[in-house]
Symmetry: C3
Subunit: 305 residues, 3 copies
């Protein structure tokens, strides 16, 4: 696979994903053995216009485990002459002189695409704008399902939360639609249901899906519960019992014994801490997979050069 930039999750075909996941699995082994020095001449620049300590650390740890080095800015928006109207394109052209790959979290939708258009080194999109893409998150989510369920075909996946604004569920729905006999359940208060563009996409691709506001009958059927946060303030004045969307011991009892629970983290009240001790709680493994997937992506970008 000739991987030049990582801009959006949709750019990956099923064979691409399988190559990525094969490499990801190798990275688990490499990390367990203490990392490699194979890429010790490589420099990664973390160019974060908006701060995100966890995402940044995950990328930088990936680079370190590969033997490489890291240039880092936590909050370029507050710290650079970006405020003086410097163009992203010029910044990228300059910073590309100092590194071998740029991990970009930009504050505007489409920022990563603009950067890739001028950059002589690979760009990895680490989130661009509120409504934009964050492809490595979607890829680590998909890898987690693949790794835990041993397949991506024929799965039933429930997504819970504020689905209209949830970037992770939207991206995951797109990615899952590439696989066979997937069944998606969107569980949310009607005000927060998944948007029409996703519904259209699923219909075009003949993906089976169902919209529900009551999770109780769906939960026992699914292989994956993908839980996200619900912003309580958005429902002010409405009589909605949000606790029905929480994962607690009662909901655990109704889940399949081999189902898994995912969450992009950080969580708020929507997952009871007692759930952490259940082997089906996959969300901390999921966050660890971020390291392996990002290592795999970096090697795919470097090896092709």
């Amino acid at each position: 696979m000739n991987l030049q930039h990582v801009i959006q999750s949709q750019q990956f075909s099923v064979p691409n994903l399988m190559e990525l996941f094969g490499r990801t699995r190798q990275m688990e082994t490499i990390v367990r053995r203490g990392g490699t020095r194979d890429y010790d001449d490589k420099i990664m620049a973390s160019l974060f216009y908006k701060p995100s300590t966890r995402t940044r650390f995950s990328f930088e740890s990936a680079m370190y485990r590969l033997g490489g080095k890291v240039l880092s800015t936590e909050s370029a928006k507050s710290f650079s002459s970006a405020i003086e109207g410097e163009q992203l394109e010029d910044t990228i052209r300059i910073i590309a002189n100092y590194c071998d790959v740029i991990v970009l979290r930009h504050n505007e939708e489409g920022g990563a695409q603009r950067a890739a258009a001028v950059s002589p080194v690979p760009i990895i999109n680490a989130g661009d704008g509120g409504g934009g893409q964050h492809p490595t998150l979607a890829l680590l989510d998909l890898y987690t399902i693949y790794n835990e369920c041993k397949t991506l075909d024929g799965l039933s996946v429930a997504m819970i939360g504020a689905l209209d604004t949830g970037r992770t569920v939207r991206s995951l729905a797109y990615l899952l639609s590439k696989f066979e006999r997937v069944k998606l359940y969107f569980l949310a208060p009607p005000e927060m249901q998944i948007k029409q563009d996703i519904i259209n996409h699923l219909q075009e691709h003949d993906v089976s899906f169902q919209l529900e506001s009551d999770p109780s009958e769906i939960i026992p059927k699914v292989d994956v519960v993908y839980q996200t946060r619900i912003d309580r303030e958005r429902l002010q004045g409405k009589e909605v019992d949000l606790s029905q969307y929480n994962i607690n011991p009662d909901m655990l009892k109704r889940m399949k014994s081999d189902a898994i629970i995912m969450h992009p983290l950080p969580r708020s009240v929507e997952i009871d801490p007692v759930v952490d001790r259940d082997p089906r709680a996959a969300y901390f493994r999921q966050s660890q997979n971020g390291l392996f997937v990002r290592m795999a992506l970096l090697t795919m970008l470097f090896d092709k050069e």
Copy 2:
């Protein structure tokens, strides 16, 4: 010694301290020879919720001199979703996936203990809250006395400054109370004297001590003068001559010829810059010891794994 986390200075017994100081001395040699690569597969995360450039650089330099790598956030409080109410415990669980040790400076007292309770990798407390612990500071202070005076038994130590709020003097008093025939002098305006909890602790451990507001008769007797800052504004409206607490050429003349002067730095007016040239001025050597002590602690955490 089986060292799992470094949370508070009191956790170290006298034999533990001696093992630490033995390693610390080895680190001086290693640094003089250009460092080691023995730990080049290790990653340290500097997770500073409150900024402290000097403390952070000291830890990160220690890790680099050992051959390791560093993930770093200068001000996680302003930069992360911490502001959205993310739990410290979840943050630690996630970041532990990306590193082999976490150096945590948290803004709340007890933060390091909470982190250690859930972390699969060692936590080093780099300060938690204003009234909390900062054990590596206390350890480097104690090592400095040990290294300069060649013993910790039988010493007379004067502590000067705002002793009621001074974290460093409080911790050092605790640590010194573990040694034989130590005599402590607390020199401060009455409004700023050492608090009752320390007095109780010293009495319980039969440590000889004395509280004084006038340093003049004490200074000629002591082996160590531990100087700290006095916040002038706290004494507004009071007629106190704070200059009597300053270290200046006049006070130098009255000190023992083999005494040492320490200060946690940064200093304000309480040490005259001309004192810097006196061989008894140990405060810059003290700050350098921070590097060696932190290197030693890191090796103790890594070697036991």
Copy 3:
């Protein structure tokens, strides 16, 4: 050459500059081959009181390409006890314990000189105050002219923009005055012309120069066009056509075929993006030279130890 600190561009004699540029050229080769590990026991501290992501990344990348390690603070002014009145001198004495070289961007003019006066490790001035020095910028500018034009003697150089406040043009004028038969043209609205101190310097050194507000007749004569930004707001209420100072296809046509266009970047409207495609546009090569010049300076500081 015995290089101890890099504080101001004037400290370099012509033979010093030639040694630096010889090393700079070697660094280009080293980077093309993936860098070196010769300095992998060295630690550089980036101590930026004012943020500048591009300058910082350039220095840090230089250190990494040499095999070294980096301590970094993006904005020490907002992050450290500097705000409590800590003295720069004490900060430098302490941080020098943790590293082998300090790259300092201070907010006050003369900060780098003060740091060098007390520092046991080399200080590199990465900009001190608005009116202060930024010697590595001037050196990379001069190297770019040398590298592109194959000589520094006998060149005609036009500088355009707000020349009174422009640090880069002032420094470059000083450096160019060291070479033979150089001719300088200062092209700016009269309100923004180069200041008298530079004029005096050029007269004392018998350097040929000319002040003009209309660039049209000068541009066809010069080997180098050094373009800088004009702050439009400074000319409010005045009837000045600033577009005459912009570099656009029309001005390109009037330039010599082997002239080069330089700019310290970031640019605003003063260089039309279509100019980027012209081979005479040297500003991105210029920014890349920053990496090589900084690598060369670091090796000169390290090798002499």
